[in-house]
Symmetry: C2
DNA sequence: TCACACCGTTTCACTTGATAGAACGCAAAT
DNA sequence: ATTTGCGTTCTATCAAGTGAAACGGTGTGA
């Protein structure tokens, strides 16, 4: 491996990253299948992670995420992007547009939904906090890639404030608008996004949502 | 190191474990001081953790916990010990006793508060979720050590249901009662605890709290 | 009941990865 | 202007980490 990384640490983190809301518990064999690692390697790596509380193992030998991960997750959430800071903007957006408002951050080649205020409509683009979606799709994916330095090709999707309006990316029936949120230091914090049914959240509705979206994104910059 | 563990993984996890609510952000030098690791070692380890989103680094070169930790932490919380399951019991306990009710799990040689319902009294043993406390002190420390197989010496503190009543352990002015919570499989899930001012949460008040504490602990067993 | 498949565990030869010391450039502090 | 400390890079050295093989146990199906 490259000399500025640590292969066995990445193996261990790939084990942790294999857990999901669909797969919160896994056997040794399942982890081997998910990660491609050898069972004896997994045993060694998970023994160390257990000692530090990042993984736990029940009496049937099944593995799950441990309490240390959650404890550190709380620290993350007390960061700039903490819920109390972002939540009012999401609520305003969800109420004003009638659609689902969410805040995404980039993790490697994925985007993760940190916070969301789901639409009051029963027919909606339902997002759960913690969901991982592809970075290659969606308005927020485009925003996160562009403003973290990736080449996204044609910039015609973006207005001059970096806001994107898309249809049928995450899902053929979903349309979205998304805009970047920056920290005071100029770094990208994440993407503030509204998503809804394309038939309801049409071009006019999306255009009407953009000024409020951009205004709220700018107001989120104040913290740090 | 023992052949069933992985030293570099434990070094990486010791870096992650160095973060706390008091120290959510650290420089390279601060991490070196906290962990005793060499700076070049930390650089390599953190490069790998950044790639997987477990650590992030701002433009000033300061490190903080990354979004992958939080995402996995959500998975942990959807486990047996998920909030919705435990919270009603904590609320009942806090209301019935007027003191702080909390739920602790063991992590290595520490206990971590997963959930708490703080006392309505302004003068109280205030606990935040995510707090790490010593395993060697406190009623819940005693319970967690005893029921995870450690030798705790004199068992006189325990009643026949494994409940402990202590004074002046975590803090000279604090008294606590704590009882084990088990999973259906018989494994220890954690310790359900009530803590308050020793002058207010005296021997009689603690004795009065124990039946309810034990009853609620048993009711928590139903899940899985 | 038996054979087979799969799981989790242990061992160890071998290869490669990981470490930390040294040196460097830079910025901040004195 | 000088010193100090930080973050970064490089590399010789050595120990760690890997995965293949073998094992015992358990569950399944014939």
């Amino acid at each position: 491996m490259a000399t500025n990384r640590t292969e066995s640490v990445e193996r261990a983190l790939s084990i942790l990253s294999a857990f999901s809301t669909q797969k919160p518990v896994m056997t040794l064999a399942e982890i081997a299948e998910e990660t491609g690692l050898h069972k004896s390697t997994i045993l060694r790596l998970t023994n160390s992670m257990q000692i530090y509380g990042f993984i736990q193992r029940d009496e049937d030998g099944r593995y799950s995420v441990g309490p240390s991960v959650w404890r550190l997750g709380l620290i993350f959430r007390r960061d700039f992007t903490k819920r109390e800071h972002v939540a009012p903007s999401l609520r305003i957006l969800a109420e004003a547009t009638g659609e689902t408002a969410s805040f995404y951050v980039r993790v490697g080649n994925e985007r993760v939904c940190l916070y969301r205020e789901n639409s009051p409509n029963l027919l909606r683009f339902h997002v759960e906090e913690g969901m991982r979606l592809k970075l290659s799709t969606g308005a927020s994916g485009l925003v996160l890639r562009h403003f973290s330095g990736d080449d996204v090709g044609d910039l015609a999707h973006f207005n001059r404030n970096g806001t994107v309006s898309t249809v049928g990316q995450t899902n053929p029936n979903i349309s979205s608008v998304s805009t970047p949120v920056f920290k005071n230091t100029g770094e990208l914090a994440g993407a503030l996004t509204v998503s809804g049914l394309a038939t309801r959240f049409d071009e006019e509705a999306r255009a009407n949502a953009i000024p409020l979206l951009e205004s709220l994104a700018k107001s989120l910059m104040a913290a740090d």
